[in-house]
């Protein structure tokens, strides 16, 4: 099957420091959204700029809808690619007001049959009140929203969003994420979003790519990324679980000095007696007041729907546990916290 969008063996480089080597990734279907995650300054923006045609490439190829748009010899000018890029620092035209800026996007989608309505976008991005203001009169979050509106309305073949919601108020953010996802799906707009917020990425992206140390480390759907990270770096970057030392007992279990026996299915086979690092996610542990496995509470975060406890084992390992918030908890810092034994994990992810 033909992919809608492909990057084949491209090295993205804006400067010597700031580059991503030999990237290959595919977007299979039109209308899919992918997210690129990574720490700031790693070159994610360069990738978007290159896809948009603002930078040239020296090797490999970028193919959109069956047509090569960038390669060693081919360079389609940005204005002819029908790829829209919404910059992180909004780049609204300073001498036009917000509504006129947004209309620049509308001008472009004139040929399309199915159009996004200007009013809809204005409504969902809460732009009603700033329609006639000039870019210098609005906040950076408002600017981002206006810029997003402009890009959306242009209905490009490929939409590139660079940290589109980074400056937007938290109370709008989730609502906008939801609407954005709906619109992208409804109008089948293929989108690449760059972000450093893994929740946002996991929510919006059909697939996500993790970029670390000048490399695309893992490109997979959010579930797999979370449950089957392919390297310690990815685990550390996502920062959701803890790696604890363990010894393989048999094909279905391993053991940790502090936590005892841990059961589950191995993703990858390890010989008996191997010393490994086991990925322990917060949802893997279950609270049990009656258990005799008691750990010290180091920290407790109240997250509305749940608590996140940070616990310390005897050998000073820090691990995290989720507990539903309807459960009445009196486990304050320095108190003891029981964990149900034996620990059972669906997929055992280990690293050497």
């Amino acid at each position: 099957m033909k992919n809608y969008f492909e990057i084949n063996n491209v090295t993205f480089a804006a400067s010597k420091k700031n580059k991503v080597d030999n990237v290959s990734l595919k977007i299979e279907n039109e209308g899919d959204t992918i997210c690129l995650l990574g720490p700031s300054g790693i070159g994610k923006t360069t990738i978007l700029r290159t896809i948009a045609g603002l930078e040239k490439i020296k090797s490999g190829s970028i193919i959109l809808n069956g047509k090569t748009i960038s390669s060693e010899t081919i360079h389609v000018e940005p204005e002819n690619r029908n790829i829209s890029l919404s910059f992180q620092d909004n780049s609204l035209f300073p001498h036009y007001n917000v509504i006129d800026n947004i209309k620049f996007g509308v001008d472009r989608n004139k040929r399309k049959t199915k159009k996004i309505h200007l009013d809809d976008v204005i409504e969902f991005l809460h732009l009603e009140n700033i329609k006639f203001k000039y870019p210098h009169q609005i906040s950076s979050g408002e600017g981002q929203r206006a810029s997003l509106a402009r890009s959306l309305l242009s209905m490009p073949n490929l939409l590139l969003l660079d940290e589109p919601l980074s400056n937007i108020d938290q109370n709008f953010k989730e609502e906008i994420q939801v609407k954005l996802k709906q619109i992208l799906r409804e109008y089948k707009i293929t989108t690449i979003i760059v972000t450093h917020d893994s929740y946002e990425a996991f929510y919006l992206g059909n697939k996500c790519g993790i970029i670390l140390n000048s490399q695309l480390k893992q490109y997979d759907d959010p579930y797999n990324l979370h449950h089957f990270p392919n390297s310690i770096e990815v685990v550390n970057f996502l920062n959701k679980g803890t790696l604890i030392p363990a010894t393989v007992i048999d094909e279905k279990s391993l053991e940790n000095k502090d936590l005892g026996l841990i059961k589950g299915d191995f993703i990858k086979h390890y010989p008996k007696g191997s010393k490994v690092k086991l990925l322990l996610q917060p949802e893997d542990l279950e609270h049990d007041d009656k258990s005799n496995l008691k750990l010290d509470v180091v920290d407790r975060k109240f997250r509305g729907t749940n608590f996140i406890y940070t616990l310390k084992t005897q050998s000073d390992l820090l691990i995290q546990v989720f507990v539903h918030s309807h459960h009445i908890h009196q486990h304050d810092i320095d108190e003891k916290f029981g964990i149900k034994k034996p620990i059972h994990i669906d997929h055992i992810v280990c690293f050497d």
């Binding site: 700029r49 948009a52 045609g53 603002l54 000018e77 940005p78 204005e79 002819n80 690619r81 029908n82 790829i83 829209s84 890029l85 910059f87 620092d89 780049s91 609204l92 035209f93 300073p94 001498h95 620049f104 996007g105 001008d107 472009r108 000039y134 210098h136 009169q137 810029s147 402009r150 242009s154």
Partner: protein
């Protein structure tokens, strides 16, 4: 890699930028070629006699003018930007009118008023009766006269640029000063002034260049500066080579100053217009003697810079109206306007072309090359014109040798040639003015436009042009005034029977008929003032 780079860069934009840069570099090339020729004995005589004097005088003149323009330019800008006092709104634009007075006309006025038995004497005699009042009239001639004439005729650069910068200064910054418990003086010295430094320096460097390349005022007042040396070398000792070398040293000196300033401020980060800077600042209302002081300060500057020369020239025109009636006004006006129109069109068109080219190609080489264009503005006009003539002659005789085609009469002594030299002279003014406009447009704006499907040309028309409009308009006005006032280049480059207000005023002044020069001078001032008044709103406008 190399080939690819070439491919990437050699395009129409690159080529046109390159050609402009080369044209503008002609005078520098010519005067630096003087180092391959021999000089006369004057170089030795000069070194034995007055060289140190000349350098010393040039420095004194420079320091004097820079100090005076700083005090009056920054002073007025500060009072008007931060305080509310009687007449503040009037002075805001009235002070710009000083642009209309060329330094040489200011010199005529100053000399006419303060000379022995001059206008001041007549006034004193009118009041006190006969007597040798000359003894009590300050002699504003010589170095002092030159400093005053140059300062009051060009302080406008410092005033305008500083005022704009003050205007953009964020209220937050000023509030911060208050918050830290700074006194007004300390806030001014520690916060406001440093933040405006780039603009002030930009204004002062224009002032410095005009001062060092001035010949009209210094020769009128008989101050012997390096330009005197340049003239003596050329005119009396017939040694153009030495004159060129001295001009070259002058250029190096100016470049040195600019580079020094660049280095010294490189590390500091300066404000860029931010959103909150456009908030209306809370001007402090002044009362009583403070208000009176502010008023008097601004009024004095306005009076000395504009009213005084206008009244002196007007008085003479009134006394000798026949000189006004004898002027061929229509001819002079149309000549002046034709020069203004075509020079401005050319300068603006190529200024935009080059800036746009630099923006697209992002070539460092081109950018460095265009910074040298400033040399046209920094050397004496007459030396520039002569360098141009020398170049054309060399080109015609040694390189082209076209038998049937008369290159020289095409380029020398035609309106086209005259406009071309104006182009070289004022290109940096146009280029930098447009560049200032362009600097405010973030490059991602261009990219956004491309990504919205706009071609490069369409991006320029739709996005750049509307945004640059104000900057371009401002540059046109500055250029127009400069061209209306321009003298030495016009004198030597003009075709037969071609006069402007400036050349007519000069012709009378050079026969010691200053009272006859008053009529064309007052016309010149009127035209320049009209240019300024039409656009005063724009110059002061707080561009986004």
């Amino acid at each position: 890699m190399e080939i690819e780079l070439l491919e990437k860069r050699i395009n129409i934009w690159y080529l046109s930028s390159l050609i402009i840069s080369i044209i503008v570099a002609i005078p520098v090339v010519v005067i630096s070629s003087s180092f391959f020729e021999n000089t006369s004995e004057y170089s030795i005589i000069l070194r034995e006699t007055f060289l140190l004097d000349y350098i010393f005088n040039s420095l004194i003149l420079l320091i004097g003018v820079l100090s005076l323009t700083s005090v009056i330019g920054i002073g007025c800008a500060y009072l008007i930007s931060f305080y509310d006092f009687t007449g503040a709104n009037f002075f805001k634009w009235a002070l710009i009118l000083s642009f209309a007075i060329p330094a040489y006309i200011y010199s005529y006025s100053l000399s006419a008023f303060f000379e022995n038995y001059g206008t001041a004497y007549s006034i004193l005699r009118g009041i006190f009766g006969e007597g040798n009042h000359n003894l009590y009239i300050p002699k504003l001639d010589g170095m002092l006269g030159a400093i005053i004439a140059i300062s009051f005729s060009i302080f406008g650069y410092v005033y305008v640029l500083t005022r704009v910068s003050f205007h953009y200064q964020s209220q937050n910054l000023i509030d911060l000063g208050k918050n830290l418990g700074f006194s007004k003086k300390k806030t001014f010295l520690k916060i406001i002034l440093p933040a405006a430094r780039p603009s002030i320096v930009a204004g002062l460097s224009l002032v410095a260049m005009e001062t060092l390349s001035d010949f009209g005022s210094v020769s009128f007042f008989g101050v012997s500066t390096l330009t005197t040396g340049i003239y003596n070398a050329w005119i009396a000792f017939d040694d153009l080579t030495l004159a060129n070398r001295l001009s070259f040293y002058l250029l190096i000196f100016i470049f040195g100053l600019l580079i020094l300033e660049n280095i010294s401020r490189q590390k500091a980060q300066y404000h860029s217009p931010s959103k909150d800077s456009l908030k209306t600042k809370n001007k402090i209302k002044l009362y009583g003697y403070k208000s009176a002081f502010a008023f008097i300060f601004c009024f004095l500057v306005f009076f000395i810079s504009f009213i005084f020369p206008v009244v002196q020239m007007g008085y003479w025109t009134y006394l000798f109206p026949k000189y006004l009636f004898e002027l061929n006004l229509i001819n002079l006006l149309s000549n002046t306007l034709i020069l203004v129109f075509f020079s401005c069109s050319l300068l603006i068109a190529f200024g935009i072309l080059s800036n746009y080219g630099n923006r697209i190609t992002k070539s460092k080489f081109l950018q460095i090359l265009t910074t040298f264009s400033i040399s046209g503005y920094a050397m004496p006009g007459i030396i520039l014109a002569v360098a141009y003539i020398t170049f054309i002659s060399y080109l015609d005789e040694n390189l082209l040798q076209l038998k049937n085609y008369n290159i020289k009469s095409l380029f020398i002594g035609s309106i086209f040639g005259l406009i071309l030299v104006y182009f070289i002279r004022f290109y940096s003014l146009a280029n930098n003015g447009i560049k200032a406009g362009y600097l405010k447009i973030n490059y991602s704006i261009d990219e956004s436009a491309y990504l919205l499907g706009y071609s490069k040309i369409k991006t320029f028309n739709k996005i750049h042009l509307p945004y640059l409009k104000n900057s371009i308009f401002l540059v046109i006005i500055l250029l127009s005034i400069e061209i209306v006032k321009e003298l030495p280049i016009t004198l030597i480059m003009r075709p037969f029977n071609f006069d402007t207000f400036a050349t007519t005023a000069y012709a009378y002044a050079s026969q010691d008929l200053l009272e006859a020069a008053a009529a064309p001078a007052i016309m010149l001032i009127l035209i320049s003032s009209a240019f300024i008044l039409i656009t005063s709103k724009l110059i002061l406008k707080d561009q986004q």
